[in-house]
């Protein structure tokens, strides 16, 4: 299998902006990445850096005040591609749920309050004609069980408001997995889950991946989870992918100052544990980005950083960074290669 056919999703120069009363907000700025068959790409980054907007852009589900440009090629079958950005609405709709599906970040409001859990899952199956009504209902029960919901027969007949936050999130997961998509976009799927269930879900996704070669975009803040599941990691900041690489590269040889700060902030319990964040905060800007978005919080920032947007540059095979000064700032000890 050539490398080309292994790429399920190829995103090039994706850009999404919103028209707001205050001006245009560029939420995602010219990002490019790929997802290969059976691979999990974790996207991490500052809250509000554009992770969810990226996923919505790929799903074509943005509010009407959004403008998306760029290319996102999805392989729907070997050698067969569809564009997720520029395709017609009907074509996109046929892909949604089947070829590409998404787990939403907000499980409370994302479920229809008037339909039972089972119906909502089964619908995802029947709508693509994958199975009949009855089979779909059975599949729904099976999925509920898979995502670790006890007594699925009873839960299936319940309504979203009767479930706990974690259960709702698992129902969302079940919906997304229902059709065994080629590409799964999981937007913080485990935030409301306790660790045992979370592990179970991660396990489930991994097994599905092995069985079907599903590609996964996994958005999370939990670096522990990233370490558990990701093959590769993209670090976003202020609408840009500032660094991307294999999970080992990111964890063991982070290059971008933001990545390093992020990793340092992971809570590590110990007798005198201290939580350290990155000082400062993301500035909100309207219009084009003309400087490194991290510059105002970066201890290494130079005037160049304030004047020019850094380009994506390779650090090592599969490892890229967007920083003007990465060569000088990376501590020697962590090295370049791993």
């Amino acid at each position: 299998m050539s490398d080309e056919t292994q790429i399920i999703l190829d995103v090039q120069q994706l850009r999404t902006s919103f028209a707001t009363p205050a001006g245009t907000v560029v939420a995602v700025s010219d990002i490019s990445f790929q997802v290969r068959q059976g691979e999990t790409l974790a996207i991490v980054g500052e809250s509000g850096c554009g992770k969810s907007v990226t996923s919505f852009s790929l799903m074509g589900l943005l509010a009407s005040n959004a403008v998306t440009t760029g290319k996102a090629r999805l392989q729907i079958a070997t050698g067969e591609y569809a564009d997720l950005i520029r395709g017609s609405e009907a074509a996109k709709q046929a892909l949604r749920g089947k070829a590409v599906s998404m787990i939403f970040q907000e499980p409370m409001t994302s479920l229809n309050p008037l339909q039972t859990v089972a119906d909502q899952i089964a619908e995802a199956i029947t709508v693509h004609g994958v199975a009949g009504k009855k089979a779909a209902q059975e599949k729904a029960l099976q999925l509920l069980k898979l995502v670790g919901i006890s007594d699925p027969e009873t839960r299936a007949k319940q309504y979203p408001h009767q479930l706990s936050g974690g259960m709702r999130q698992r129902v969302m997961i079940a919906i997304a997995l229902a059709c065994e998509p080629r590409l799964l976009i999981a937007d913080e799927p485990t935030t409301a889950l306790d660790v045992t269930i979370q592990a179970q879900i991660l396990q489930l996704i991994r097994e599905l991946q092995q069985a079907t070669g599903m590609g996964v975009i996994f958005i999370t803040h939990d670096m522990g989870v990233v370490a558990q599941i990701a093959d590769r990691v993209a670090v976003m900041y202020g609408g840009h992918i500032v660094e991307s690489g294999t999970v080992a590269q990111i964890f063991q040889a982070p290059v971008h100052p933001y990545t390093r700060g992020l990793l340092a902030a992971i809570p590590r319990p110990g007798p005198d544990a201290v939580l350290s964040g990155i000082p400062g905060q993301v500035e909100s800007v309207t219009g084009e980005h003309r400087q490194c978005r991290f510059a105002n919080r970066c201890e290494h920032a130079s005037s160049l950083c304030h004047q020019q947007l850094p380009k994506v540059t390779p650090v090592a095979p599969q490892h890229t960074v967007a920083c003007h000064h990465w060569r000088h700032t990376t501590p020697q000890s962590t090295g370049v290669a791993i």
């Binding site: 892909l95 409001t109 229809n112 008037l114 339909q115 408001h161 969302m172």
Partner: protein
């Protein structure tokens, strides 16, 4: 659920009683009395004759007594006799029930169907030309009085085109269902017209409200096409106002299609009630009020039950 139903029924009885008392009092406060209505303004009844009538109709008794004796009749399953010709009120109402039911159900059914449908179309084409065209049509239909639409429909469909009979319930001598439906078509259509407009507006507004909810986004993410999103997710969430409007209009129409019944000579309850008012036929007025009140209370109860069926978050208490 059962306890709710029982409670509700228990509350409905005093409500019904209150309605009857108020209507009885209002009716007697209204100007004109049955004996005056008995003859036209130019015809002559002597004093003595009027006394006889008054006594016979019980009009010489004090008001509370009359109400009590009416209630006693009701308790015995009767609704008294009409002043006009002594026919039993219950029988008259029963006779009108079928035509009224037919007209209401057909008119409302058709109206609900088309109203919701146009509402869906309109919401789907929000602020594009089909929406605007349908909105204008809806307001024309809402602003057109029933008598006008009725007469125009008669001119066009009965006189010019000859498709439908100009009115009546059946052709003399032919009481078959087909004949009844043939006669029903036009009044039902006219009746539904306004209703289409009303429902269309509520449906459209409700849909626009729900279309921006997150779960609609989820539905789209599942790969549902816009129609499916509209029908399966947005629409059920707008059902509550729609059911409310249908329920309220149902109650209003059972006795309120007077204009249409008049124009199309449709022997419905509305016309009977108008007859009752014109002749100050108290037993008839009270009888119809009673029947309508029971129906309306029932329908309102039903809508409340349907609410809780539609939306699991609503609990009946």
């Amino acid at each position: 659920m059962w306890t709710y139903l029982l409670n509700r029924l228990a509350v409905n009885i005093p409500t019904l009683f209150a309605i009857l008392v108020v209507v009885f009092v209002l009716m007697n406060m209204a100007p004109g009395d049955p004996v005056d209505a008995f003859v036209p303004p130019t015809a002559v009844l002597t004093d003595q004759q009027k006394e006889v009538l008054r006594h016979e109709l019980g009009l010489d008794q004090p008001l509370p007594l009359r109400f009590v004796s009416w209630l006693q009749q009701v308790a015995h399953g009767e609704l008294g006799l009409r002043y006009k010709d002594g026919s039993p009120v219950l029988q008259e109402i029963a006779r009108r029930a079928v035509p009224t039911g037919l007209l209401t159900v057909a008119g409302l059914g058709m109206g609900a169907l088309l109203g919701v449908l146009t509402g869906l179309i309109s919401a789907r084409a929000y602020r594009r030309w089909p929406d605007h065209v349908l909105s204008v049509l809806a307001y024309i239909s809402i602003s057109s009085p029933a008598f006008l639409v009725g007469i125009i429909a008669m001119y066009v469909f009965a006189l010019q085109l000859g498709w439908f009979p100009s009115g009546g319930y059946t052709d003399p001598g032919d009481e078959s269902w087909r004949n009844i439906l043939y006669h029903l078509a036009m009044p039902a259509m006219v009746l539904s017209l306004q209703f289409i407009g009303i429902l269309m507006r509520y449906t459209r507004a409700g849909l626009l409200e729900t279309m921006s909810q997150d779960y609609v986004r989820t539905a789209r993410a599942k790969g549902l096409n816009p129609q499916q999103v509209l029908f399966r997710h947005a629409f059920p969430n707008t059902l509550i106002p729609i059911i409310t409007v249908i329920g309220a209009n149902f109650s209003a129409l059972i006795g309120g299609a007077v204009f249409i019944e008049t124009v199309f000579s449709w022997p419905g309850m509305g016309m009977l009630f108008l007859d009752g008012i014109e002749s100050r036929d108290y037993p008839l007025i009270m009888g119809i009020t009673l029947v309508m009140a029971v129906v309306i209370l029932f329908i309102n109860m039903l809508t409340d039950l349907i609410y809780s069926r539609i939306d699991p978050r609503i609990t009946l208490r």
